[in-house]
């Protein structure tokens, strides 16, 4: 471990050398920033990982069943397990997707499940990300560089090699491919995650495109080369949000989408990873119902726990939230990236009464959660001293022929000692996640 700490500066220099950056817009200006890397890995033992793996597979399988049901028979609503207003008022429920079955029936191919570990060592799922979860490329390249700079650390510890992520991703793309090449569709150079798009294209052998070179003809997608020759496209790993994907179906002013791509997908002529419309399943309001989904679709008890969550939509929960406002964290279901998160204890009396009025007026818009006392992870501060900081883990679950959990993940930490917010866009850093083979 000391080798890793000693070489921290070398790793950060190498990350800079390889352009491991993320983009950020500040005051209307685009800037690329290095994603600060901490050399002390999060270590997950083999037994613990087996438990997480089972729980994550179960959760993602249930979420895929839910998506198939919601855009199909909607039995879970008919059986009153989830109130219908939670489905149809969810921003992520897309009417054009109703009745559409994706190739091989898979909706969420790449799922990013955010977990935290509490001080009593329990793991809790904080959030499901089933649209365009990002972040796998950072631990991939960091591991590559750490193995070079401190090989002994890996010789002495039985760490499962995590550099197979690109193989797992390619396997999924190939499985759902309808005949043709795999492409990664990126909004372009000025997207926050462009490094990841280009790195995954390089590592999976997929073609990176901003869509300008793709046309849809007779409900098929084609990639047009320099000489005008068309190559059929069979799978599109799109890193563009649903609303911008196709101006003919969704947001008509989108200039980064591909006109008619949805039609090619609807007819089964191209796979879209992840399927459009998944936002209904990772809605923060729907999150509350995931353990119920697991029971409903799989007939099993949920292995992984949700953070204790209350829906102000239910009268009983609203009363609890009002009675315990100061010890809860309230989240706006429409927000992401660490935004729209309010800690009850942080509000002044005036702000609190304003917020409660809003909560009462729009109960469906919010969820409330108990504040989990995170298990802190050590990071090195600017002086090289170990200090504890809040951290989460984004686990990546890939669904193709089977559902697999990547034996690694993105551990993000807050650099601010008083903050629970770990998002890179808000100054957080990342560390490698070791899964031990013993």
């Amino acid at each position: 471990m000391n080798d890793l700490i000693r070489n921290a500066e070398t790793i950060n220099k190498l990350l800079s050398r390889y352009g491991v950056k993320f983009g950020i817009y500040k005051n209307g200006e685009f800037r690329e920033q290095l994603f600060p890397f901490d050399p002390i890995p999060r270590i997950i033992g083999n037994d613990e990982f087996s438990y997480l793996e089972k729980g994550l597979r179960q959760r993602v399988d249930a979420l895929n069943c839910f998506l198939s049901d919601i855009y199909g028979k909607k039995q879970i609503v008919k059986d009153r397990v989830i109130p219908e207003e939670f489905i149809f008022s969810a921003k992520g429920f897309l009417v054009p997707c109703d009745g559409v079955t994706p190739p091989k029936g898979i909706y969420s191919h790449i799922s990013g499940i955010d977990l935290v570990q509490s001080k009593d060592n329990n793991w809790y799922v904080l959030e499901d990300n089933l649209r365009v979860p990002s972040g796998a490329s950072y631990p991939m390249i960091a591991r590559e560089l750490q193995r070079r700079s401190a090989p002994d650390a890996f010789t002495k510890n039985d760490v499962i090699d995590n550099r197979n992520y690109a193989d797992l991703l390619k396997e999924v793309m190939d499985h759902v491919n309808t005949g043709g090449i795999n492409v990664i569709l990126s909004p372009g150079r000025y997207n926050a995650a462009f490094f990841e798009h280009s790195y995954l294209a390089e590592k999976t052998g997929a073609v990176l495109t901003t869509g300008k070179d793709i046309v849809c003809e007779n409900d098929n997608l084609y990639y047009i080369d320099y000489n005008g020759k068309k190559q059929r496209v069979g799978a599109v790993y799109r890193r563009i949000s649903d609303e911008y994907l196709d101006p003919m179906t969704f947001y008509e002013e989108s200039v980064i989408g591909i006109p008619h791509i949805f039609e090619a997908y609807r007819k089964g002529n191209a796979a879209l990873l992840n399927a459009p419309g998944n936002g209904v399943a990772d809605d923060k309001g729907i999150y509350y119902f995931v353990p119920k989904m697991i029971k409903y679709y799989l007939g099993e008890e949920a292995i992984l726990m949700n953070a204790p969550t209350y829906l102000p939509y239910y009268e009983k929960d609203m009363q609890y939230v009002l009675d315990n406002f100061d010890i809860l964290v309230i989240k706006d279901v429409a927000e992401a990236g660490g935004y729209g998160v309010v800690f009850g204890s942080s509000l002044t009396a005036e702000k609190k009464s304003e917020f409660i009025a809003l909560l009462k007026a729009e109960p469906r818009r919010f969820i409330a959660q108990e504040v989990i006392d995170f298990y802190d992870l050590d990071i090195l501060d600017e002086n090289g001293t170990k200090v504890p900081r809040k951290a989460d883990l984004r686990a990546f679950v890939l669904t193709g022929r089977t559902t697999k959990v990547w034996a690694s993940g993105l551990t993000r930490f807050s650099r601010n000692p008083d903050s629970f917010i770990v998002n890179s866009s808000q100054g957080g850093g990342f560390k490698d996640t070791w899964v031990l083979s013993r």
Partner: protein
């Protein structure tokens, strides 16, 4: 891999051009800096005229700083390097992370040189990393067409600059010959009649630099 679209060919071509622009102009910048020590303090004015940029510098000291490091000046060396990076970053899947890294390292070098006490000596590291970039292009890019589009950009830029900088005729002829080698392997559309005329012109030792330069601009078809 290996499916080249119009957009991608454009990025590869300009990656080659901008990288070469940095390399050749930096070498001439070193030469100019040397001349300005004692032989001709105003030599930068000649260089500006030759490469066709406005003399907005006013003094040799300002030229040395701004021509190398001013990111707001589109003619500066750092601006060319930034444009090379812009073209490289969107081609990571074709040229590879390792190859791209040398452009990033050259940018780091030029930024470090700006704040150093031995600016010109430190700028030599930029040359080192550009040469390493070319080595990596040769060694790490298996696809012949991709490799040759980048080299064609390099060849055309070098020829253009050699003509502007009024390099000796035999050097221009040599650069032209090398560029032609890349042209056939890059498989981009070009005007054969222009090439034919350039061949004829450059077979004579007293060719017109301006005429060749004008023809060169018409060679690659968009």
């Amino acid at each position: 891999m290996g499916i080249i679209t119009i957009d991608k060919s454009d990025h590869l071509f300009w990656l080659g051009r901008y990288t070469e622009r940095v390399y050749t102009t930096l070498k001439d910048y070193f030469k100019s800096a040397d001349l300005m020590i004692d032989s001709d303090p105003d030599y930068y004015k000649v260089l500006c005229r030759k490469i066709g940029i406005a003399d907005v510098y006013g003094s040799s000291g300002a030229f040395k700083r701004k021509y190398a490091f001013d990111e707001t000046n589109p003619n500066s060396i750092i601006s060319s390097l930034n444009r090379a990076y812009d073209n490289a970053i969107v081609m990571r899947d074709y040229i590879g992370t390792e190859t791209m890294a040398y452009i990033q390292l050259a940018i780091d070098d030029i930024k470090n040189a700006e704040n150093s006490n031995s600016t010109i000596a430190d700028l030599m590291l930029v040359i080192d990393h550009i040469l390493a970039f070319w080595g990596c292009v040769n060694d790490g890019i298996d696809d012949e067409q991709i490799r040759n589009i980048i080299k064609l950009g390099k060849g055309i830029e070098r020829l253009d600059l050699y003509l502007s900088l009024e390099k000796p005729a035999h050097e221009v002829q040599m650069v032209y010959k090398r560029m032609k080698g890349f042209l056939s392997k890059a498989k981009l559309r070009y005007d054969e009649s222009v090439l034919y005329t350039m061949d004829n012109m450059l077979s004579s030792p007293d060719f017109s630099y301006d005429n060749v330069k004008n023809l060169l601009r018409k060679l690659i078809l968009s």
